[in-house]
Symmetry: C2
């Protein structure tokens, strides 16, 4: 497994300033890293490119100092400009193979899938990991299909060879089911960003992941 | 003057599907090129990255077949992915020097200025041209300051050494004043995209530019 792929494991926190506005992206990244999260994704669709670049540069710096992996949602240009470790591509973003041409061989590229077929496709196009979900019901993103559940997650983890990042409605109460199903990493947004104390929320999740 | 810089001259058309919805970006690029425009800029803030990439790829192909320069507004990643000749950066987009690191030495980078000081700054950061305006009143974009006029444009053209692309409220009736003030290129949006016949509107502007 390449270094790009082996980096994607453990607790993966998507920072969000829409579901909460107490903390900035870089504050959340710092808190989550102190709590043990190993991968952070900056997801922000609101700002213009200049503001997003400034935010990303601070976010990447915080992640680097904490020894965590920094991923930018959607924007390959912002990932390159900020020196992030990679990008995460949704299903309406750049195709994975096109992003690889833009980003070169060193950046981590995550793809998105909601079925095993999509996950295999994302792997074939050269993604370093696949974000798969949603596993459980979640209010963070509107979904047009039912939660996939951990039974389907298990089948998907057996079917693909790149790391699987499970996402959607995961919290301290159900994270073990997700890890037991074979997920290499568990992505959370609300369970950390909207927690009263993001650092201790991350710590609880990371401890539950490990045990 | 580098090839990147010398490419920016004549009629520069910003394609827009908000002020009109009869034609796609690639249709407008084809019509404007047949009318004699030499540079096209795809400006579209609405779609997600995947859709924007598809649009840009078609736009770039049309420009290439017509021998015109293709510029993508704002998005360095889309410019790289689509094989466009360059990007145009607004004042809230990536800084010019950061974009140069992302894009490498071959892509054309246009900056934006509304004063001579800003234009000199954009030149210093490594832009290949500066978009300056607005010259006249325009309904296409909301502006927080008064039109700059052709007197100020003349001073700006004398102050900077990179090509100056004048923009804002320019049409067949006033384009000569803009060219006489020293603009290397004249950017229009509404005067071509919203014209009954974009191709003949471009032709009239290009002819007025030349004479």
């Amino acid at each position: 497994m390449s270094d790009r792929r082996s980096a994607i494991k453990g607790l993966y926190v998507v920072t969000d300033t829409v579901i909460q506005n107490r903390f900035t992206h870089e504050e959340l990244a710092g808190q989550a890293a102190r709590g043990g999260a190993r991968v952070m994704q900056l997801r922000d669709k609101k700002p213009g490119s200049g503001t997003l670049f400034d935010t990303a540069a601070r976010f990447v710096e915080v992640c680097r100092e904490a020894g965590a992996i920094s991923i930018i949602n959607d924007r390959a240009d912002i990932a390159l400009a900020s020196g992030a470790d990679g990008v995460h591509l949704g299903q309406n973003d750049l195709p994975v193979d096109v992003a690889r041409e833009v980003l070169g061989p060193d950046k981590i590229i995550g793809g998105t899938a909601s079925t095993i077929e999509e996950a295999l496709r994302v792997e074939q196009l050269g993604a370093d990991y696949v974000g798969f979900g949603h596993i459980f019901e979640t209010p963070t993103k509107k979904k047009e299909y039912a939660p996939r559940g951990t039974g389907y997650l298990k089948k998907l983890c057996e079917a693909v060879s790149i790391p699987v990042v499970a996402i959607g409605g995961i919290d301290a109460g159900n994270i073990r089911q997700v890890v037991d199903a074979g997920a290499d990493a568990v992505a959370v947004c609300r369970a950390v960003c909207a927690a009263e104390n993001p650092e201790s929320a991350a710590r609880s999740l990371q401890e539950a992941f490990r045990t």
